[in-house]
Structures are given as C-alpha cells and as structure tokens.
Symmetry: C4
Subunit: 194 residues, 4 copies
C-alpha cells in the first residue's frame, strides 16, 4: 500500500531531472553549423548522465517491484536517493562547460558515489522491511556490481586530479557494467511465481 | 473517487517544485574547486527546503491515505497548499543568494507559515468530509506538531530581524520534529484494519 | 480504455505549467525587504493564473470523469487545450513585468479566450463520443458559464486598449464565477448512480 | 507487469519536454504589441514541435496499448526514443531564434530522423517480445508512414542547405500524414476483442 505513490513521485522527479539537464545546452545565437562545436562536451556529458539516470530508473523499477510494503524508512531512503540524483544536472553542466576539467570530473564522481550509497541504503531498508526470508535479499545475492561501483567511483575521484580522462573512462565503464538490467531480481521473481 | 488524480497532480507539482529548486544553483564558469565555495549557502538552503518538501509529501501521502471521498473543498484546499509550496523555490533562492540575511530568512518563514496553515485547512476539509466519526480526526488527535509549528514559524519571523541564525535554528528544529513520519495515522489505520 | 493515460499526461502538463510560472519571479539580488516591492505585479498575475489553471484542472477532472471512451478526436482536442494553456506562463510573465499594460492585458485575454474555445471543443468531442443520450450533455445543460466566459474575454480584450483595469476586473470576475466547481456534472453523476 | 510505470515515466518526460519548449519564448521587456513580432518564428517552430510531440505521445500511447510484457530491451529502446525527443526543445529554440536558417533546419531534421529510427527500434523490440503471432506486427502491417517519414526527413536535411523552406514544408507534410491517429492498431485490437 502506498507503493504506487512512491513510484509515481520517483518517476516524476527522475523524469524532470533527466529533462532539465538539456536546458544546460544553451541555444547558440549563431545559425552556423559550427556554432554547435563548442557544445560537444556538454552534449557528451548529457549523454553520460542520461544513461546513468536511465540505469537508476531501470534498477529502481526492478527493486520496487520486489518491494511490497512501504515503511517510513523506505520513503526517506528514497527521498535521500532522489536528493543526490537531483544534483546530477548541476555537476553535468559544470563538467560539460569546463571540458571535463579535473575538479568538475571529481565532483561528478562524488555525486555518483553518494547516489550509489543512497541506493544501497534504500536496498537495505527494503530488505529489512521484508524480514528473514527477504525476496530482494536473495535476488541481490553477492551484489558485486553494487560493491564494485563505489570503489571505482572513489578511484575516479582520486585520479581526476592526475588525469580527468581516467575518471571519465571509469564512469563510462561503470555505466557499461550496469547497462545490463538487473536480471538477478527478474530471475528470482520469475522462479517464485512459477 | 478521483483520489488518484488529486494524488497524481500533487505528486507532479511537488516533484517539479523539489527539482526546479536545484536550478537556482547556477553552474559556475570556473573549473576550479573553489568556484563551489560561494554556492554553499545556496546548497544549504536547498537541503533545508528539500527536507521540508519531503516532509510535506510524506505527510500529504499519509493524510490522503485516510481520505476516501474527494470534495470540491478538498480539491481547492489542496491547490491552496500547493500554491504556497510553489513559492518555496523562490524564497529558498533568495535566502541562499543572500547568505541567510534578515529579510529573506523572515520571508522564508512566512511561506512556511502559510503552507502550515494551508495544510491545516486541508486537514480540516478532509475531516469535515468524513463526518462525525472521522478516521483522520482520531488519527490526528491532539496534533501538537501541527499546533507548535506555526508558533515556532512566527517566532522565527520575528527573530529574523534581530538574528537570522535563531530563525534558521528554528526552521531546522521544526524540520527535525516532523522528520518522524506521522505514525499516529498509520497506527489508527492499522487498528481499524485489524 | 486509455483514459488513465490522458489524465496522467494532462496532469503532468498542467502541473508543469502551474509550477514553471513561478520561475518568472526572478530572485532579487538585494537582501532588503523592499527588493520584493517591484515583484508585486508579477506575484498578482501569478496568483490569477494559478487560480485559472486550478479551475481548468478542476473542471477537466470532472469532465473526464464523465468520459468513458477515449477517441482520437478527444486526444487531439485535449492536446489543443493543453497547447493554449502552455502559453499562460508566457502571457502571465509579460503582463506581470509590464504592470498590467494594455497590450499584455489584451494578449492575456486572447490566450484565455482560445483556451475557453479549446475547452468547449473538447467538451463537444466527449459528448459526440457518447452518442444520443450523452451523460455529459445532460450534466452540462445550458452551460451559461461556458457561454458567458468567451463573451467577457472578448469584452476584456477590447477594453484593454482603453483601460487595462477593466480587463483585469473582468478576468477576476470570470475566475470567481468558475471557482464554484461544476456541481452540475457531480449531481447528474450521483443521480445516475443512485 | 511494469507497463504502468514505463507509461508514467514516458508521460512525465513528454509532458516536461512539451512544456519547457515554451520557456524558449522569452518574455519581451517592451509592453508594446509589436514586441511580439520578433517572436513569431519561435512561436511557429513551437507549434510545429508541439504537434510532433503530440503525435509521438499519441502513437506511443497506441503502441504500448498493444504491448503486454515489458522486457529490458523495451525499457532501453523507450529511453533511447525519449533521449532524441529530449533534444527537440533545443533544436526548436535554435531554429526559431534563427528564423528557419539552413543549419538549424537541417539539425531539426536530424533529431526528427533519429527519433523516427528510435521509434522503429522500440516497435521492433515490442514485436520481438510478442513472438511469432505478434498482435502489434499485424496491426502495423506495411507501415508505409513509418518507412516514408525517415526518407522525407533525409530529403529535408539535404534540401535545407539549398532552401530551408523546402525542409520546413516537408516537416509540416510529415506531421500532416501522421496527424491521422494510428487506426490500424485500434482496428486490430478491436477485431481481437470482438
């Protein structure tokens, strides 16, 4: 009960975050095709953040699918996750406008790191609400992706001051390992239904 | 009947309010990490307002849970509440940009005060629609939080012109007493169902 | 079938329109309370447009309640209505920034007039889809409000070039006669259910 | 299962895209009616893009109606479509501000072309998920509109550097052939139900 509304609110916030990012791509005054050239780093950082937010929406979707009771802790853990994701347009714009400079690349990693921690807390809140034989706990299992990502984010933050391109490669790499949807949850849910 | 749509509309408006606030944090032109330093009061006021809107969404969620019939009065009382909440991004930006100066801190309190009154009116409209043995009336009970908050807001507004930091402490304090979700409603609903 | 989605999309668009209007109220740089004084016409036009959009959401809500089959014509009539309402933030901002000058006050009336026509077309599409004994047709009846409003808007547009304050009074007057929710539809629906 | 949420998220994103486009129409400082004259190309490009997004929402609505199982591929194909549509406000603003100059008119076509390809991919993902006797496959049939549109977009892109007005006519023409809602899907669904 109440699950619909937490989904609707999260969908709304994620839909707005993903869409207002595009407002950072300011319309150039010049009508020449070359007027678009200075926008390419903003465009690339937009693509990266769009994919990250898509991954979060996707996994959030699967995770709430496995959640049947919404507690106060889950509501606040979900708002905490949305808070960090709401900072993505800001850091995306900062990184894009400064052509992936050291400081913005590091701060981008900090926001991704905090969002990953917030996602983990939300996951634990849902598992706690489900008691001893939590369906989600079985589904998540070893959760190597969830454990590897924060480590890679921290590596990327540290590397940013040495070479931001290593950080960027790490952000792209983490996105790639997550692009595969969380089939573990799907599988356990399907097993249970059959 | 129609309850779904009032929830969907309120979720939409709250999701947008909470997200456009972040647009007040203008992307700095400088790529240096120190470029973020001037943004810290805007960030802090964003965090405070995010928590307030989270509390409103949370309690709104619980209150509408206890509401089964949507009348014209409830629709307009809800729009009235959304009106005052829609002013939160404006006062948050004003307060943040001016480092919690006296006037913005006081006006921030005025908006919170009006939102609290609007919330109370909405609550009374729902109770009135439920007749003599209103479930929500029982759930709300003495409602010391709902009565204490406006008093603290008025205190904060008056104190702002003397020391804005007292006002800010009061706003944080009110947020803290509300962060505990409205278990009264949850409890009464559970009792009724069992 | 499909009614849920037309409601969800309309709610989303209306929620965004009502909320982005507040972005026209630019945060003043000055921390003084007098910095808010120049904003009062923008605030007043925001309040007026908020009430108008609230009325549209309210009546849209009641009208779709009486609609059971969504046709292609209804989908496009609905988008047509949303198009004119999406121009409300623009004319509200223009009117507010220019202290209710003649031209903005007239153009504000043009947008309200077109929205009223679009609402009427949507109403006729729903009635047409319901055939001979349309429930909505009975509910709407003489529809004096729907017929009087466009006449008053045209009067307001013409008067704007003579005295914009007559126009503003007419806009406030039309809002007041609509603030009473469309009880006709509620009544007919209730009669049918009993 | 999960179909509701993919619809809700898509509705949210489309509602925001369609509404933030209007923010490109900057409020003029002058109160004179002639202050609106420079805005007419922005207004015209807004109308065109509003209709295109309306067509996408409409057809998306019909297509998901025929989809009963949401796979990971469908989720990502849908996000891919939303990505290209999210660029519509940017190219609309660029085209409008530059009075339908060559480069913006061509880039507008590129975004429409990519959105059409993304829509086709989504359609194929849904058909693939439905197996051999896919309801959507039958409904779509020859799909001459879906095949003609990308050809016309490419023609428009090439023509833009010769005469942007040919491109604009082609965009309007494609919009017109799509304005007729996708009755094929409606018909096949109705046949099956009867």
């Amino acid at each position: 009960m109440g699950k619909n509304r937490i989904e609707a609110f999260s969908d709304g916030v994620l839909a707005i975050i993903i869409t207002i990012m595009v407002l950072e791509m300011k319309v150039p005054h010049d009508a020449n095709i070359h007027a678009l050239t200075p926008l390419y780093p903003i465009f690339l950082s937009y693509v990266l953040s769009f994919i990250y937010l898509g991954i979060y929406w996707n996994n959030h979707h699967h995770m709430l699918h496995a959640c049947h009771k919404v507690t106060g802790a889950i509501l606040w853990a979900n708002l905490h996750l949305l808070f960090w994701l709401s900072l993505v347009p800001f850091v995306t714009g900062w990184m894009g406008e400064n052509h992936f400079a050291a400081a913005p690349a590091a701060v981008y990693g900090v926001v991704l790191f905090m969002a990953a921690i917030a996602y983990y807390i939300l996951q634990q809140c849902i598992i706690a609400s489900q008691g001893a034989d939590s369906l989600l706990k079985k589904a998540v299992g070893g959760d190597w992706k969830g454990k590897l990502s924060p480590v890679l984010y921290v590596t990327a933050i540290v590397c940013a001051f040495w070479s931001p391109w290593i950080s960027m490669s790490l952000y792209v790499f983490v996105a790639l390992i997550w692009l595969v949807p969380d089939r573990r949850i799907e599988r356990v849910l399907l097993n249970k239904e059959s």
